[in-house]
């Protein structure tokens, strides 16, 4: 198996960037800086999506296949909804975050141009009645503390509508650093995998006549919206969505509900809450994995959803595949994934694109 992003430099850089849904500029800027060396041409649309094209084979052929490969740049986050008299901030989530991972966390707040540290808090356990200690604090009783002593001080640096993301360390851990922990692995792993695949394809292009559109999309976490307009513009025949999928492979979870397991390769979706996937394309992915000896697993629980939900229905319809890195504790400041799985997903995407011929999948 070819290995990419071996020391995870790329994944680290992308994961730590600031990109709550609707404010993905910092992530897009970083990816855009890398694109000139990785594709034939690229554009950034007015919504903020980046689309990069690699053309292979006979450029004059009329039978060129259009393939969309996508990963979303945005991450779940928070938005300031009120600046209180005492300098504390009330907020809401951008995308789905469970309250059980909000209280106590560090956040970075700001907008396109500046950042400020804060943390999410409520009253101390000493002030909670015993009967309330095992109840999650509703978001209306949580606040963000940035250190401001009053409203005026807070308003100098933030306003209602300022957004934020978890401020959380990126590190490898476990046996020989087998796992990686960070915020926003969903879906910077997909973005990083795409960049690795592009780099491999540009070095040695596939021979079939393909127009490969690599799309870095916005606003997935609030309803799959960026990918929708990109797919409508490209009108691809095939689409591969690179994602993370929530898994629960803990000792106490009954096997049927574990979804997938870390360390067993990328997870292919058969069905989730937004899509029933194309069987033929799925079989092609499995066959390619088998032939190339790349580990892959089938996602075993109907849960979640991703950009495939809007892509497969776009235009006249698109045969769509979702390949995900199984990830524990998704949408928390501490997402955990296997480094091997991340590399297998990259390898499988590259192998599939190389195995596609001009005529059929």
């Amino acid at each position: 198996m070819r290995t990419y992003d071996n020391d995870l430099t790329l994944l680290r850089e992308l994961s730590l960037l600031f990109g709550p849904s609707g404010c993905e500029g910092e992530v897009a800027d970083a990816i855009e800086r890398a694109l000139p060396a990785l594709c034939d041409s690229f554009t950034r649309d007015r919504m903020g999506n980046l689309t990069a094209l690699i053309r292979t084979g006979d450029l004059s052929s009329e039978n060129r296949r259009r393939v969309m490969i996508s990963a979303h740049m945005d991450e779940v986050g928070v938005m300031v909804s009120e600046i209180c008299e005492d300098g504390l901030l009330r907020f809401d989530t951008v995308g789905g975050i469970d309250v059980s991972v909000l209280e106590g966390r560090k956040v970075l707040l700001g907008d396109e141009s500046h950042r400020i540290s804060g943390l999410i808090a409520s009253k101390a356990i000493h002030h909670k009645e015993k009967k309330d200690r095992n109840k999650p604090t509703p978001i209306s009783k949580l606040f963000i503390d940035i250190g401001a002593k009053d409203r005026a001080e807070a308003e100098q640096v933030l306003s209602v509508g300022s957004v934020g993301v978890f401020d959380s360390e990126f590190y490898r851990f476990g046996k020989d650093g087998a796992f990686v922990k960070s915020k926003a692995l969903d879906d910077r792993m997909g973005c990083a995998a795409m960049l690795s695949v592009m780099s491999a394809l540009v070095r040695e292009r596939p021979t079939a006549d393909l127009d490969l559109y690599f799309c870095f999309t916005v606003r997935e976490e609030i309803g799959l919206s960026g990918a929708k307009v990109v797919a409508q513009r490209i009108a691809p025949e095939l689409a591969i969505v690179l994602e993370t999928t929530a898994v629960a492979d803990l000792p106490e979870t009954e096997p049927a509900k574990r979804v997938a397991a870390l360390g067993k390769g990328g997870a292919l979706s058969v069905m989730d809450r937004s899509t029933v996937y194309d069987r033929e394309f799925l079989n092609f992915a499995r066959a390619t994995a088998k032939e190339r000896d790349i580990p892959v697993q089938i996602k075993q629980y109907v849960s979640g959803g991703n950009d495939a939900g809007s892509i497969h229905k776009s235009g006249v319809g698109v045969r769509t595949l979702a390949l995900s890195v199984p990830t524990r504790y998704l949408h928390s400041p501490a997402c955990v994934a296997s480094v091997e799985d991340y590399h297998s997903v990259t390898s499988l995407v590259e192998a599939m694109l190389r195995a596609m011929d001009t005529e059929t999948s």
């Binding site: 943390l119 409520s122 629960a248």
Partner: protein, 357 residues
């Protein structure tokens, strides 16, 4: 401003030293590294207390105890499960609301990183909204069960990962300010006082076991020292929304002095006088029958020790993102310095008492 930053650095350095209750004794080397040369001697005792001595050099001088507990809340390894997951038991009062997805460090034969597990919204059912206690949660370590059993003995301490941030207006966020921030502030203040200015021999006791039993380290340590009088410093719950103001102290408005039947009234009033004379920002708080700190225990040690209870306001107590205000830290440092140099207190509270014959 620069001095402020130094104090912040000293606080972060001590608060980063792991010291889960019961394992304080493992940190002797770190304490020596931080304070060697700045105190006359550093001693330890049987129950995990550390004593930082600074003597005044005068024969028969009073002995002044400054107590700040050094232990921190944390967890212990209770069981190792399939897939390298670790079951925990809590040490001290952990809030279930901040545990999930927290970064932790496991101090076994090797130092390991880990993450406390959480359930993502994708896999959570609507009725499943109870926050599990520490004992019900697991730590994800990334090792297999067999590998982990070799390097992580049962009972190994587990602490939150140290990770600090500066907030606006000179506030600091991070773990274990309860109570190592107070310990670091007191150490910095006492180390900076010229020996000849001290009103007596000063012992800074970094005491053990406060979070698990409110008498453990401090009473044993105070018994061994039998000081003439004592100051106990601990953090105090700072004002937040949804909590009555009477139960908290304002953040950023200086230290608190407890008026309590459990401490020495005269010493408390003398301390208030210091604050007024030196212009040290402070709030008097009512703690009628207990201070909720080591002071309640220390004042009853041996033949009784006149004790004052001093507080540093802190938000988010017992989380890994406690918040303090450096202006309060400066006020505390000024107060400790003035207290250990106060000749009048030394004169009034250094009294040899005897039973009637």
């Amino acid at each position: 401003m620069d001095q402020m930053k130094n104090l912040a650095r000293e606080i972060v350095a001590l608060c980063s030293v792991p010291s889960v209750s019961g394992f304080e004794g493992r940190s002797t080397k770190e304490i020596q590294r931080l304070y060697e040369g700045r105190f006359d001697r550093i001693e330890t005792d049987a129950v995990g207390n550390h004593f930082l001595w600074k003597t005044c050099g005068r024969e028969g001088a009073p002995r002044i105890l400054v107590d700040a507990h050094f232990d921190e809340i944390g967890m212990l390894v209770r069981e190792i499960l399939e897939g390298g997951f670790v079951r925990l038991v809590s040490v001290g009062g952990l809030s279930p609301s901040v545990l999930q997805a927290a970064d932790v460090i496991l101090y076994g034969k090797e130092v390991l990183r880990g993450v406390i597990v959480s359930t993502p919204p994708h896999l959570r059912s609507a009725e499943d909204d109870r926050l599990p206690d520490c004992e019900e949660l697991l730590v994800d370590t990334g090792f297999s069960k067999d590998e982990l059993e070799k390097i992580l003995p049962l009972g190994s301490p587990v602490g939150f990962a140290p990770d600090y941030r500066e907030l606006l207006g000179g506030r600091l966020a991070g773990k274990s300010f309860d109570n190592k921030a107070c310990a670091a502030i007191a150490a910095s203040a006492i180390a900076g006082v010229p020996r000849e200015a001290l009103a007596g021999d000063v012992v800074l006791m970094l005491s053990s076991f406060e979070e698990t039993s409110r008498l453990g380290g401090a009473s044993a340590g105070a018994f061994g020292l039998s000081p003439d009088y004592a100051m106990v410093i601990d953090v105090n719950l700072a004002t937040v929304p949804d909590v009555p103001k009477s139960e908290t102290v304002p953040l950023g408005e200086g230290i608190s002095l407890s008026v309590s039947a459990a401490t020495d009234r005269a010493l408390t009033l003398a301390s208030q006088k210091i604050c007024k004379e030196k212009n040290i920002a402070h709030t008097m708080i009512a703690a009628p029958s207990s201070t909720g700190t080591n002071a309640t225990a220390v004042q009853l040690v041996g033949g009784g020790i006149p004790t004052v209870d001093v507080g540093l306001p802190l938000r988010n107590m017992h989380t890994y993102n406690e918040v303090i205000d450096l202006a309060d830290a400066e006020a505390l440092a000024s107060f400790v310095e003035a207290f250990v140099c106060d000749g009048e207190i030394a004169k009034n509270f250094c009294v040899r008492e005897e039973l009637p014959k």
